[in-house]
């Protein structure tokens, strides 16, 4: 029986689909929900020629800001749906690893993701992050479309 769902969203349209379906499912199942969004580590290599320390701070601030926007919206949607929900910002992780770690830490029994995120290859039939979550997860995964 599913009791604790992890919904992963990056705020993209498919991520929002995962959020909506996840909340709908949680409501019907009376399950609780953790909504997680992952921000990736600062990629030094791309900016190697720039004086990085201040840029790292700028990056981290904007990552935290973006995550907060996504998670606040998610929390609001959960409240409106009447679903018990906590939110987690997973910092400095590659998206699939971050999602899997969050599911493990929170002891969720189902991970819900969209089929595509914000990544560049929208034309791919299944997004790389979703595929990696599916591949590496030791628990059930629902891919929303």
């Amino acid at each position: 029986m599913l009791q604790h769902l992890l919904i992963a969203t990056d705020g993209s349209p498919d991520g929002e689909k995962a959020l909506r379906q996840g909340l709908g499912l949680a409501k019907t199942l009376s399950a609780k929900v953790t909504v997680a969004t992952v921000t990736e580590p600062w990629t030094e290599a791309a900016f190697a020629t720039l004086p990085t320390p201040s840029l790292v701070q700028i990056y981290e601030k904007s990552a935290a800001g973006n995550a907060a926007v996504i998670l606040d919206r998610a929390k609001q949607a959960a409240d409106e749906a009447g679903v018990e929900c906590v939110t987690r910002h997973i910092k400095d992780q590659h998206a699939p690893q971050g999602v899997i770690k969050a599911a493990k830490d929170e002891q969720c029994d189902l991970i819900i993701v969209g089929s595509h995120g914000r990544g560049a290859l929208g034309r791919a039939l299944l997004g790389s992050v979703s595929l990696q979550v599916l591949t590496l997860s030791d628990r059930a995964v629902l891919v929303c479309r």
Partner: protein, 145 residues
């Protein structure tokens, strides 16, 4: 929420998990269930041991028998779980295609299946048919482990 769940099974232990999860979900969501098992076309089945003395009609008889055994096991579980379910034997198809076509033909809005089937390469982190279903499905897919 989901109204018609397609559960795919090949009778393996892991597929049993998908069946159980699908039934649980169906009961809680009040959804209709269709169970599908797929048998492959004869030509796809040829291995060095089976090439000789294994005519098509005999293969088809075996395939039908094994499918009806799998489906009647599943129907038994459904009765136990108090679930109404239809069963489909998709013949002469590769598993992923059979699953996708059955989902489409029955207007299912969720597919539930296991991460791996009966075939070899269990060491793969995600089975080939699961990847194919995930890649081509237009409806959400729940992968059980």
């Amino acid at each position: 929420m989901y109204k018609h769940i397609l559960i795919a099974t090949d009778g393996s232990e892991l597929a049993g998990k998908a069946v159980a999860t699908g039934f649980d979900l169906a009961r809680q969501l009040g959804a209709q269930v269709t169970l599908v098992t797929v048998t492959e076309p004869w030509t796809a089945f040829v291995t060095s041991e089976t090439t000789f003395g294994f005519p098509i009609d005999e293969y088809e008889k075996t395939a039908n028998e094994s499918a009806s055994r799998i489906l009647s096991e599943a129907r038994k579980l459904a009765r136990k779980a108090d679930i109404q379910c239809a069963t489909v034997h998709a013949k002469d198809q590769f598993p992923a295609e059979g699953i996708l076509e059955t989902a489409k033909a029955n207007h299912c809005d969720l597919i539930v299946m296991a991460s791996h089937g009966r075939r070899g390469l269990g060491r793969l982190l995600l089975g080939s048919q699961a990847v194919r279903v995930l890649t081509h499905s237009t409806v959400p897919v729940l992968i059980c482990r």
